[in-house]
Point group: C2
Chain length 325, copies 2
Amino acid sequence: MEKLLCGVDLGGTKLSVGLVKTDGVLIDRIVVYDHISKGEEDMIGQISDLINELLLRNKIKDDNLLGIGVGFAGHLRIKQGIVITTSNFKGFKLKNFPIRDAIKEHFKSKMEVIVDNDANAQAYSEYRFGSGVGYDSMIFLTISTGIGAGIILDGRIYHGMTGTAGEFGHTIVDPHSDIQCGCGNYGCLMSCAGGLSLPQIVKKKLKKGMKTKLQIDRSSNLEAVDGKMIKQGLDLDDELCKEVVLECADYIGIGIYNLFQIFNPPAITLGGGLMYWGDLYFKRIKEKFYTLARDMLYDKIDISLTKLGGDAGLIGAAALLLEKR
Amino acid sequence: MEKLLCGVDLGGTKLSVGLVKTDGVLIDRIVVYDHISKGEEDMIGQISDLINELLLRNKIKDDNLLGIGVGFAGHLRIKQGIVITTSNFKGFKLKNFPIRDAIKEHFKSKMEVIVDNDANAQAYSEYRFGSGVGYDSMIFLTISTGIGAGIILDGRIYHGMTGTAGEFGHTIVDPHSDIQCGCGNYGCLMSCAGGLSLPQIVKKKLKKGMKTKLQIDRSSNLEAVDGKMIKQGLDLDDELCKEVVLECADYIGIGIYNLFQIFNPPAITLGGGLMYWGDLYFKRIKEKFYTLARDMLYDKIDISLTKLGGDAGLIGAAALLLEKR
């Protein structure tokens, strides 16, 4: 019987555990949301229980697993499999936690467990099974509440010294910006174009006197503004929302241009929650990129959308086991 | 007899040809400046003549060379050894020129000839013989008339798809800047902190009413402002020059911070003509970096100055022959 991959997508909201074939096809999965209320050890125990439940109901022995791949929303010491920190789990949960070994303890000693950053896992699944197929290198940019990149060079995930490479959302693209990022700095890409900054971006436009059809105003529910609300505005042909989307797109276009100048990659793939803003957004991103790159672009670069849907994180986590290390 | 490396540093002002030992020690070199007045084929012939002259006067047979490494100030199709374009040679000279094969034709067929971008060559020499010794990866940033990076990952030069990776000077760090780069864009790192932009930066400060001890004013000889003139101002404790240096340093600090977030490298080395601005400049660069990186820096990063002097380009060109390909 062909061996299977087990993927674990461990985020601050959702914990998904799945069985994936080596061709990237998801066989079965369990999704829970109550992991976040547990302590660290209990959370790891829950992950182990969910894996065993999946194996049992699919009549698969753990010997039939190639291993367990974990995609984690936070910073990791990659070689040691230790969480450094994460802003996605409240109360410093999992800070300095040896997550890889803690999971390993629940299984036979020969079970391989690989833990990586979730953006890296998604990048790798895109490279193996999605828009990156056919390229030896590619960059995956996830644009959501935050912004991050997974860098695939010559078929391998590029991690850097500690394991935190690809934190592209924190690169500064507008140092005179007055929008502060969660990291404390001003003008990083995340603060200019990430989901978390939408309330501040909208607030600035309201201050300038722009009108909106949305039921928001400066004083009350501005903090509730998120990507979905902006999308509703787009569907209503709302001027303010359109301008927000185009402004964010311009910054992402700059970001992609910067990636191009640094990496000269054959392919850049975009994913993440804000991509549902649709054509207006994606077209403007590409326009901005090509306006900047012009005659400095000597070979075609493939700027595409993710081909993997909502399970990209889970499939990517599983696919980590296929990377040549 | 131990084999030697032949290095060729081909720039728009200076052509240097040298013999280098495999430990990076320069044995002999010839420098000329009249290559720029020649046609393409004559320039290649001159390079060949200079190499033969060096071999002759050092009593070395061409069989004793490991090969010829060429560092070139311009964009290359790296796999094909073809110049794409360069802004350093007037009249589109060398555009689309197959420089590697043209040099090869002057030597025995088994002579290895490697051509790479000059920033890459310098980065590689820094990695082999300079501040990068002991690290598996590093980034070399050259700050001069222009700004560029050489990226060494796991002991190899990272080239990207075409061969133009590392054009870090063209990454945009201030999109609302009104200073235009030679590339046509506004607000790229080169336009904010490169030598070519100094006249524009000084002009803005004069416009704001800043006084200077230098003999420059808005109308007359502003275009003559260069790094050396600013350095003279520093030595005179000139306020305007100090402010220019600190402003440029802040942008370089942002650039290094961006490199850190993207690559998470163990080492970044700075070289290039503007580094002679000295301590005021280098200290401020590091201050800006650490102010931005703060608690996101989990491991020590070594930010250093080049250890190789004016011959770094030549030694780097020769060292290209030592890279595992």
